[in-house]
């Protein structure tokens, strides 16, 4: 099997992945499911291992392993349907809340190789807990992360915050050292174009998600195959 995977073209590999993916079989109807909603882009089913009663999985019909692969148009559609499914849960179960949850990568709790959004009904006093811890970061940590993220956001999304050196007499409150440049719709569109061109970045992310070490240098040709190979092993 290993040998067979290694000799596949990227197209064959994608086809192979789909054949291995239980959710693709659910989409095609080969595997039965409790279907809540369906349109031409997505399908919503009940999770058979639910966090709570009524736990819904919303899946794009197309096979995407992780969120960075999902095109904006599909993401936008899934977001709207998630909102409506959340509302459906409120009405159907008279529940007091919902969690909308995405896990990207094994360490984040992703269990299936098909990207999905979880919509989970919540009841007062149920046994679930999505309360996030609040660990304070030091000013130095914050600055380091902020600078790195701003640089990347500026390069990829066109949004720039320009740091002005505050005058020494100004206090922290009055200094306002940062001037945001607000994006217009055009700029948002340009951003989207730029990011769509970042397909190789997605490949790198996939490698990391599959647990493959960044430092490992594989010859360019073998890269994708090895990576998909790893992923199929990890998920199987």
């Amino acid at each position: 099997m290993q040998e067979k995977i290694k000799n596949m073209s990227p197209e064959e590999l994608k086809e192979f992945q789909k054949q291995q993916c239980i959710f693709c079989h659910i989409v095609s109807g080969k595997v039965p499911s409790k279907k809540i909603y369906e349109d031409n882009k997505c399908i919503a089913i009940l999770d058979i291992n639910p966090a709570n009663i009524g736990h819904i999985l919303l899946l794009p019909k197309e096979h995407y392993m992780i969120m960075p692969q999902v095109p904006d148009e599909i993401m936008a559609h899934l977001a709207i349907i998630s909102k409506q499914l959340s509302n459906t849960c409120l009405k159907a179960f008279q529940c007091q809340g919902t969690n909308i949850f995405v896990a990207n990568g094994l360490v984040a709790g992703q269990k299936a190789q098909h990207f999905m959004i979880h919509v989970i009904p919540r009841f007062d006093g149920d046994d679930l807990n999505f309360t996030l811890p609040e660990n304070p970061l030091t000013e130095a940590q914050l600055k380091q992360i902020r600078d790195m993220l701003r640089q990347k956001v500026s390069a990829l999304m066109g949004f720039k915050i320009e740091e002005k050196t505050p005058l020494p007499t100004q206090t922290q409150e009055t200094a306002n050292p940062v001037e945001p440049i607000i994006n217009t719709k055009d700029e948002i569109d340009k951003t989207i174009d730029k990011i769509e061109k970042g397909a190789e970045e997605t490949e790198k992310i996939l490698e990391r998600l599959s647990g493959k070490k960044e430092a490992e240098t594989t010859p360019e040709k073998k890269k994708e195959k090895a990576n998909l190979d790893d992923i199929s092993k990890l998920f199987s």
């Binding site: 809540i36 409120l90 809340g97 009841f123 990829l156 948002i188 989207i192």
Partner: protein, 175 residues
């Protein structure tokens, strides 16, 4: 007291991204280093209060910011989490997405033990949900751009409005 998210949106200190509709900032008390809060500029408590334009835009931007976290912080995963309503763990009465970097062996627990439900319980859940999914995906072009806090997504029949308003009000009860 002013909403803490509205307050944060005015500050530039930890701002990472901003456009006409949404703002993202780095959380200083974070689930993990690089934890981003992405929120609509317009204040409203829950996702149901926002029109499709904002909801779709915010998830598209969340996807991009999540990718940027991957590229920047050498992490191995991300979670996107919306706590919608007090019972869901919502701590601030302003709808927002948490974008959370994940590393191997980090101490975060965002998991659950699957519940074993009997076939008839699953069937009941399916029936209850499908009663209300008739119009999911339909009404999206008819949304107006202004958002009223009391305006709820209209799925289902008009005679459910009262119940829906009740649910929405119920969800608004966040300290």
């Amino acid at each position: 007291m002013e909403c803490p998210i509205c307050q944060k949106l005015k500050e530039n200190k930890n701002k990472i991204y901003e456009d006409e509709l949404v703002t993202a900032f780095l959380k200083d008390k974070s689930a993990s280093p690089g934890h981003i809060i992405l929120a609509p500029k317009k204040h409203a408590p829950i996702i149901e209060n926002y029109d499709d334009k904002i909801v779709s835009h915010i998830f598209v931007i969340a996807n991009k910011l999540s990718s940027i976290l991957f590229e920047t912080l050498q992490i191995h995963g991300t979670n996107i989490l919306v706590n919608n309503g007090l019972a869901a763990g919502q701590d601030v009465p302003h709808f927002h997405l948490n974008i959370i970097p994940r590393m191997e062996n980090d101490s975060l627990k965002l998991d659950w033990t699957p519940k074993q439900l009997a076939e008839d319980e699953m069937k009941t859940a399916e029936l209850k949900l499908t009663q209300f999914t008739g119009n999911v995906g339909n009404a999206k072009q008819q949304k107006t751009e202004t958002i009223e806090v009391k305006e709820a997504e209209t799925i289902g029949n008009g005679d459910e409005d009262e119940e829906e308003n009740y649910l929405i009000k119920h969800l608004h009860r966040i300290p």
